[in-house]
Symmetry: C2
Subunit: 499 residues, 2 copies
């Protein structure tokens, strides 16, 4: 099989431009056939989005981009191409005619894929030369990010062509799903259409708005669909007893008017087939372990969305505000307790902080020390009002000693010893411990400087904060100076630079 260096795109609309972006960012040259005047500008805009998305998607340094050419005829795109992807409007006659023209201009071994959302490949094979090379490769918007591509051959498609298309798609980051049977709408669009048609009925019947319907999805089932789909989700909703139990419980609801779509009869044969496929899908994993995977994924999705303050992420953010306020109300550390290092931050090692060795990764130590500093600053009166008024402490220098490893889920606490305070500076040693009784895991000596954030420069802390910190520093001054204060890094026994 020829290496695919150049892809011919027939049509440069939303889907065509999305293909162009994915291909170009993967170093593949692209020739787009589109007569619309704004094609180049539209693709450039999509490329801007796509470049930005890829910078966030991976830390792998971007490679060289492919080159983009816009041409006026499908023949010009097809002649240059090692692979053709058609992205024309969902009009069977139009697609058939232009696919035919492209096929006559293309080399005979070039695979021709159609992005159709649901037209049958057999119908699209009507007018092309070498029809064995035509296959559907149905992508999803935005094509440069969405991993799914549904691959479906028609009656005349050669047996090796779907696999060739899948190999190419995989090399540019897609996840091919091979359809075993040619059906209208393939799999994903059948599901999307059923859901969308039901939604349109609700709008038509005036029982819900577009926003209500989207909210019902994105705060609810959409979160689970993002990683488990419908059947695995329902298997877990059946509790330990799995899909058979779920069907026993919710099968009767298939007769209720909960959708305008009538369900198939839940025959013994259908129950057996579904239960068997569900068992295959679970592949021997216990319900409990799948539940934990589901929970981990739900948490990860919501935390990811929280960073963008959107959907369920916004809901999580608002919930956390409630939690912190509740924690604040119950937090009562009496003043006389300041005569020992302060334990103001207790937490656990999160699963996502752990590296491939099973230990908390280096940068998370500093993350936890930062949480300790935040807790100390809250303790001495620096709250959000103080920040809004333009006061804050910034860390300027940190010395970390890594002493022991710690695994996911372990309880951890930060003990904070205030070493010194003046108008602008705060000198502290945090010690990270494995729980209240456990070993010392690391220390961080830090120098912080109080800043006026509006002016962007060092400025004295407010007296109330300064006094509170001074009282703590005085109380701590009678304690032994902790280990690891004032260290510098040296390599005494070997001369620098050589053996």
């Amino acid at each position: 099989m020829t290496e695919i260096r150049t892809v011919g795109l027939l049509g440069g609309g939303v889907i065509g431009a999305g293909w162009a972006a994915r291909l170009l960012l993967n170093g593949v040259d692209v020739v787009v056939a589109d007569k619309a005047a704004g094609t180049e500008a539209a693709i450039a805009e999509v490329m801007n989005n796509a470049r930005r998305a890829y910078r966030n998607l991976t830390l792998c340094p971007p490679g060289a981009e492919g080159g983009l050419t816009i041409v006026q005829s499908v023949e010009a795109a097809a002649e240059a191409a090692d692979f053709i992807q058609e992205n024309l409007p969902e009009d069977q006659d139009l697609k058939t005619a232009l696919l035919g023209r492209a096929s006559r201009a293309a080399r005979p071994d070039v695979v021709i894929a159609s992005s159709t959302s649901g037209l049958r490949p057999t119908a699209l094979q009507a007018d092309i030369t070498e029809p064995g090379r035509l296959v559907v490769g149905h992508p999803f918007n935005p094509v440069y990010l969405m991993p799914l591509v549904e691959i479906c051959g028609g009656v005349e498609t050669s047996p090796h062509v779907p696999g060739r298309a899948a190999d190419f798609y995989r090399s540019i980051g897609l996840h091919p799903l091979m359809l075993k049977t040619e059906i209208d709408g393939f799999i994903a669009d059948r599901l999307m259409e059923a859901l969308w048609r039901e939604a349109l009925h609700m709008i038509n019947d005036d029982v819900a708005t577009a926003a209500d319907i989207d909210d019902a999805i994105r705060f609810g089932p959409g979160l689970r669909w993002a990683f488990m789909g419908t059947f695995l989700t329902y298997r877990l909703a059946g509790g330990g007893a799995g899909m058979r139990h779920f069907l026993a419980q919710f099968g009767p609801a298939l007769k209720l008017p909960w959708s305008k779509l009538e369900a198939p009869e839940l025959t013994d044969d259908l129950i057996e087939r579904l239960a068997g496929q569900s068992d295959d899908q679970a592949a021997g994993q216990s319900t409990r372990s799948l539940e934990r995977l589901r929970d981990d994924c739900l948490v990860a999705v919501m935390q990811g969305l929280k960073r963008h303050d959107f959907g369920a992420g916004r809901a999580l953010k608002q919930y956390e505000e409630i939690l912190y306020e509740r924690a604040h109300q119950t937090e009562m550390v009496p003043d006389e307790k300041i005569d020992a290092p302060l334990v103001l931050h207790q937490s656990r090692v999160a699963a996502e902080w752990v590296d491939y060795n099973g230990h908390m990764t280096e940068s998370r130590y500093l993350h936890v020390f930062g949480d300790g500093t935040d807790a100390l600053l809250r303790f001495v009166g620096i709250d959000s009002a103080y920040h809004v008024a333009g006061g804050s402490y910034y860390t300027v220098e940190t010395h970390i000693m890594n002493l022991a490893e710690v695994s996911a889920d372990a309880p951890i606490e930060v003990r904070s010893h205030v070493l010194g305070v003046d108008d602008k500076r705060l000198h502290v040693l945090h010690a990270l411990h494995h729980g209240t009784e456990g070993t010392q895991l690391a220390t961080a000596e830090q120098m912080l400087v109080h800043v006026d954030t509006a002016l962007g420069r060092a400025a004295p802390a407010r007296p109330v904060v300064r006094d509170r910190l001074t009282a703590i520093a005085e109380a701590h001054s009678v304690l032994d100076i902790p280990n690891n204060v004032g260290r510098r890094i040296t390599m005494p026994s070997a001369p620098k630079g050589g053996p």
Copy 2:
């Protein structure tokens, strides 16, 4: 309104136990009426999952849990309750009868909510005293994590009751969706049912398996449903021209056999209503800005799932392996280039690394320096085979100087100066710069120790690595010693411990 300290749960199955977990973790006492022998053990298992999930969900320290009591009658649960939540099987007669008994035992002001997936609240009001207080509060599995709760009153429901239920649900982290019209299946279940029934048809027609269908969702539309639902997603699929354009393009497909559900007629009135609701939903945000939000959320969801190596996260992980391999093949740093600090890691500040001030958060500096160390170690020959064979460098000491702030998306690079090497130790100063020409943002002086990971103790590096590092250290020894090497933290002008 009385404060809700105790909730009575009628039924302790999957949904009842999920409610119990959410309530207990929010410090609310729970009395569960369930005669099944294993109820207590089943709830304890769900609580284990839920505690684990909450530790991952938020860094807010957990508060005191509520107390759990199991009772044998709905009356015993109802008598003790400030709020009642019914979670019985979807059997209208059973629910009506037990809700009636509970209502007669409860105080008259206590709200009674039903978790029914789709039965109408009016039907459930048939036999209860003070029927005005009955409302549907429909949650989703797992109840302790999923934010959505659909709130729907019946004909007799008092106007203030849905709002009272919503306030309570919000206080325990849920996102209430208020239904304006009482319909079978409410909103979410109508959509879930339509999708599920279409899926069951595909299994019944033997055109796809449960695994195919779930994959079609979770690598495709399910990712978008997780944060935008169906209408906002389609608005963006219409390109800049929005929902009217989308309907012009995909409206005709509503007549195609892409689902067994017939769509409503796309009348002018329906088009106008939907386009208007879609405009309201977009609330003046431009298509381009919504596209970026969509991309950010897609990236965040896939990255979150990558941490759990599942679904689209696994696809992303596999794609990154392809990208890194491709980058590796084109990476050709000639040996003679070692006579200056090595630039082996270039990246950008990720959006999620930025704190509320808009600057890269403290711990991410160390994250980037860690990436710099990894790149240096790869450069001198430490690859995954080396790790598998049990060799690795661990950081034991780090001294960071924070010099300047940096914002999201800024290009950054790490310049690494090797200060010293011996059998087991590696002494390096990394300098973080804002791009190739930009200012110095921070430095990190680090001491690393080579370890035998099987033995868990320091051990000499392999000669090939040691030689490579030594050659670099020798080449760097003729350079000026960089700033910030060998520093210790001091606070010279103020005596420790006070003014």
